[in-house]
Amino acid sequence: MDILITLLLIVVLFGFLAGGVWIGLTLSGVAWVAMELFSSRPAGDAMAVTIWGSASSWTLTALPLFVWMGEILFRTRLSQDMFKGLAPWVERLPGRLLHTNVIGCAIFAAVSGSSAATCATIGKMTLPELKKRGYPDDQVIGTLAGAGTLGLLIPPSIIMIVYGVAADVSISKLFIAGIFPGIMLATLFSGYIAVWALMNPDKIPVATASYTFVQKLYESRHLIPVVLLIMAVLGSIYSGIATATEAAGVGVIGSLILSLLQGSLNWQSFKESLLGATRLYCMIALILTGAAFLTLAMGYLGLPRALAEFINALGLSRFMLVVALAAFYILLGCFLDGISMVVLTMGVILPTVTSAGIDLIWFGIFVTLVVEMAQITPPVGFNLFVLQGMTKRELSYIARVAMPMFVLMCIAVLLLYFVPEIATWLPTKM
């Protein structure tokens, strides 16, 4: 009987979601019904207390600040500067300026917590510049779509904060754990570009300028501001001077100073970044608080424990479990955004993961990677939407040219499984 009601709730949940009811409200609504049915605790009061608790929780305060930092940097000339600083170094590599997509995204990811923001900020510069120089659209758009997702894996990362709060794992440790997997994935992307360029030498335009080593170093001065900002944010976390929240605060101040020095800070851009960040945070908060209440209600239902017991009884090997979870998230990622996906499933899946003996830091990186894949899987993928807006191409076209990046991410998941130290080694050195 309970199983039947649980199934009914899941059907209602996905029915509401598919019907276009706002995600955050749907989560708390379904949770409210579940609590009314399954527990004697007054559902409405539990809802208000849980939502208040998660909306005012100190651990989450890093989130709005990192969102704000991204909004400020989006309105600076940072991406132009990065292009100028990077271009001389990659002209001689096979694939030439295509690498500015990957390296640019990887560097910007280290000051931005969002995949779509990284994609939009770097694309704003590389899309027109590479097109002007005659690089093939397929590769320019495909690699940008893939590399933009590094925004999530390379710290700071919105999705890691969300996961850290949901799984009660140190956000600072998660951030540090993301560094090597991020570099690994960026290397895979760049390696792919190089191999592709060697196989299709006629499709890459010739180098436009040549630089001496000294000139290259001189051009690199454009990278100094972003490097300083990365050191301030990640350096303070790694050395233990600051918590993730405090690093976010430092990041906001640093970004404001950077945009002041560049001359892009004025009342208009400050106002836009502040209101934009407030709205973005508000959207995420509505989902997070709804999910917090849903997680509580699921606990009353006993769903997480039942699922863990069910999966244990299946006797899957750990590898099969990870593969099954990856497949599940990739499927879910086709229809839901990453944050909803994580908060919706964490409360239910974590007991299963813990009882299988999987390290929660490692699992956080794994989840971040599969959420990255969700960014470029149609029909719902935020990087696809961003690039659709920027290039005016069909969604299906962008998804198709991004396909090789998707395959590379699958390879990254496998590498992460077989060599877990890629993620777990660095946090132990903090």
């Binding site: 509401f16 979601l17 598919a18 019907g19 276009g20 009811v21 706002w22 955050g24 409200l25 708390s28 609504g29 409210w32 409405g44 009061d45 809802m47 208000a48 939502i51 208040w52 909306a55 005012s56 100190w58 305060t61 709005p64 600040l65 991204g70 989006f74 969002s114 779509a116 923001a117 939009a120 999530l152 999705i159 600051a242 405090e246 605060g249 430092v250 906001v252 101040i253 502040l274 209101l275 934009g276 960040a277 407030t278 709205r279 973005l280 945070y281 508000c282 959207m283 995420i284 908060a285 509505l286 989902i287 608080t289 229809f335 839901l336 944050i339 909803s340 960014q375 935020f382 807006g389």
Partner: protein, 169 residues
């Protein structure tokens, strides 16, 4: 009426933005305090309250700008008439849920005041004070949903084509 409502949402958004700045100030106070050796009691808890304020007061404005996430896949695939029915259905549900949320938020705030509920942190704030942001914010969200619902019924609902939505994760 239209103007009054829009002013309400926009003023609430500005209050939210102020809370965001206040959150930054709180966090920087705690960093600065540790580096420079002064101590401000309860900055962690205050930062949490500021964050709550920023989130709750911006709810209605964010909705009006079309930036709260929903799955629009099915909605966009439907013919106009069916789509309208679906919009009315989802807005109807949303009005109910937002009403529920607003009611219990107000109740929580009122009870905290009634029972002199004090924060367990070292800030010892009477909890009803920060909880006002939750009570008011969810109430304004409820008003905004009713507003949207009525506009949809009258056929005057504006669809915001926002590109900011695209930078959200």
């Amino acid at each position: 009426m239209r103007n009054a409502l829009d002013t309400l949402y926009d003023s609430a958004a500005w209050i939210a933005a102020m809370f965001m700045v206040a959150l930054l100030v709180m966090v920087m106070l705690s960093v600065g305090g540790r580096e420079l050796g002064f101590h401000v009691r309860g900055t962690d808890a205050y930062a949490g309250y500021m964050m709550a304020g920023a989130g709750f007061f911006a709810l209605a404005h964010t909705l009006k700008r079309g930036e709260h996430i929903r799955v629009t896949l099915l909605l966009h695939a439907l013919a106009p008439a069916a789509r309208r029915r679906m919009e009315i259905f989802s807005l109807g549900i949303a009005v109910l849920l937002a009403g529920l949320l607003a009611f219990f938020s107000a109740k929580l705030c009122w009870q905290s005041w009634q029972f002199h509920d004090i924060s367990t942190g070292n800030d010892a704030t009477p909890l009803w004070i920060p909880q006002i942001s939750m009570a008011l914010g969810t109430l304004i969200l409820f008003v905004a949903f009713v507003d949207e619902f009525v506009c949809e019924l009258r056929g005057t609902r504006k669809a915001y084509a926002s590109d900011e939505l695209l930078r959200n994760e």
